[in-house]
Amino acid sequence: MNKQEIIGHLKAIVQPYIQDQTAFESLTEDTDFINDLKINSANLVDVILDIEEKFDIIIDNQAMEKMINVKAAIEIIEMHLAEK
């Protein structure tokens, strides 16, 4: 799976949680989940559970702490996919 495909899946996953439509539409690698997309911080857990389900991976607590933006999420997803 290439980076653009991962971003495509990520967009679909975060869509229900975002509260800033403009930031969502112009989502890039540098987009921050909380500051830009205005996702409620409590919902980040749900985003990560949805990512785990979509990519069939398990994200541990340390990795989870780092997943605050699109770039970090892609890196962690790519790493797990490579291990499979």
Partner: protein
């Protein structure tokens, strides 16, 4: 000094009125459907396939019907993801409906509405979500519970959901006193407004549906097992053949408001809350965890009357607790002794439970909404399933006081009482509003 005292007296004597109603009942969701149902004796009791599958003794229940489409008027799609709390669903619908019915808007300001709060009771919260969570925990999947397991299962979940949806900045809390919960929430709201601490309180209560909330009662054999094939005849308050209550669920809500505030904004006023009382029999004397101490019940009623500054003879009608168990006769006897009224001189009395079963922690508020509708529109809804009136009840009060047909008549004062496990009692006095 004298001025200060006068201000203090005025401060303690705010009149409290009801300006909005909301209802999610087994026999009607929304005020129009519910009013039509109670006037026509329409039952909300049905055969319950889930209780049958789980081999309950009682296989009938009374649940409100709420479609996903309706729920989406009150919750976002995101909120309904992994949502599994029927009590919060019912409570939010009833609460928001009452708010809108009162002509109040939902603002999205930075500051909350400091003058408005909610006291919205429940017995448990999200018991199905709790069950789902427990299975995950035991399968070592705690990390997969998601972010809303706490909000859905904390007892104050219902007041927290409502507080956020309405932007309430006054007290936001959940009370819990078994089957007295809904009546107690109205009286707690009344006290807070009367003492000037809030201008407006959304009062009400809710109860979850389903086997996990009702099983304990089924195990106690307090639910009827004789009407599994005749559900609509199952809930028989005051009947000689009453054989236990029918488990129910739902939510009732009302906006209680300081009279001056209500008048200033030109709100429709359904009724006035004159006062009331909550107490406990302390599980002493004849009282126990499950049985009411009759001395406390009578004291609750007489204190409510004194608190409302009326006389027992002023009461036109009673909306009883009357669950369809062997305690119905005792309740009638307690009312008769507390009011010192019997035979033909007894007020009209009815029990909503003949149509909606026993909605447990929602009972007091669901039944209070029915009571206030009776005052506002001038009717007494019929008692169903008591064509064979219990002889002990008939020996205390005249059968004409227990109407089995709708009566359209002007009413001035109705007393509503609820009694709950833990030997707790609540009695509230509602009056038709006259300036």
């Amino acid at each position: 000094m004298i001025i200060a005292i006068e201000i203090d007296i005025e401060y303690m004597n705010k009149r409290v009125v009801i300006t909005g109603l909301g209802i999610v009942a087994p026999n009607g969701v929304g005020l129009d459907a519910f009013t039509n149902a109670i006037k026509n004796g329409i039952s909300g009791v049905k055969k319950d396939a889930e209780l049958e599958r789980l081999q309950f003794s009682c296989q009938i229940s009374a649940k409100p019907e709420v479609s996903t489409e309706l729920a989406l008027h009150y919750f976002s799609e995101l909120e309904l993801r992994n949502f599994n709390s029927s009590g919060i669903l019912y409570g939010v619908i009833a609460g928001m409906d009452a708010w809108k019915d009162a002509g109040l808007s939902i603002e999205n300001n930075d500051e909350p509405d400091w003058d408005s709060g909610t006291i919205f009771g429940t017995g448990t919260s999200g018991i199905d979500k709790f069950r789902e969570s427990i299975y995950k925990i035991d399968e070592l999947q705690t990390r997969k519970l998601g972010s809303t397991a706490v909000a859905q299962t904390m007892n104050s979940g219902i007041s927290a959901y409502l507080g956020g949806k309405l932007g309430l900045g006054n007290q936001v809390t959940t009370n819990s006193s078994a089957c007295t919960t809904g009546t107690e929430s109205i009286l707690m709201a009344y006290d807070r407004i009367k003492s000037g601490q809030a201008k407006r309180i959304l009062a009400g209560s809710t109860s979850d549906s389903g086997p996990y909330i009702w099983a304990g009662f089924d195990a106690m054999r307090v639910c009827t097992f004789k009407h599994n094939e005749t559900p609509e005849q199952g809930s028989r308050p005051m009947s000689a053949t009453a054989s236990g209550f029918v488990p129910g669920s739902g939510a009732g809500a009302m906006v209680l408001e300081d009279l001056e505030t209500a008048l200033a904004r030109g709100a429709r006023i359904y009724a006035e809350v004159l006062g009331g009382n909550v107490n406990s029999g302390g599980q002493r004397g004849e009282g126990s965890m499950t049985a009411p101490n009759p001395i406390a019940v009578k004291k609750c009623i007489t204190t409510a009357i004194a608190n409302a500054k009326i006389s027992a003879d002023d009461i036109d009608a009673i909306n009883g607790h009357l669950t369809a168990t062997s305690k119905d006769s005792l309740e009638i006897q307690n009312w008769s002794e507390a009011l010192n009224r019997k035979g033909n001189n007894f007020p009209y009395i009815n029990s909503l439970k003949s149509m909606v079963g026993h909605c447990l922690s929602a009972a007091g508020s669901v039944e209070s909404v029915a009571t206030v509708l009776q005052l506002h529109q001038g009717f007494i809804f019929p008692n169903t399933n008591c064509e064979d009136l219990h002889p002990e009840i008939n020996s205390l009060i005249d059968a004409s006081r227990i109407p089995q047909q709708l009566i359209e008549t002007e009413l001035n004062i109705i007393a509503k009482a609820s009694f709950g496990f833990g030997d707790v009692n609540g009695c509230v006095i509602f009056k038709k509003f006259k300036d």
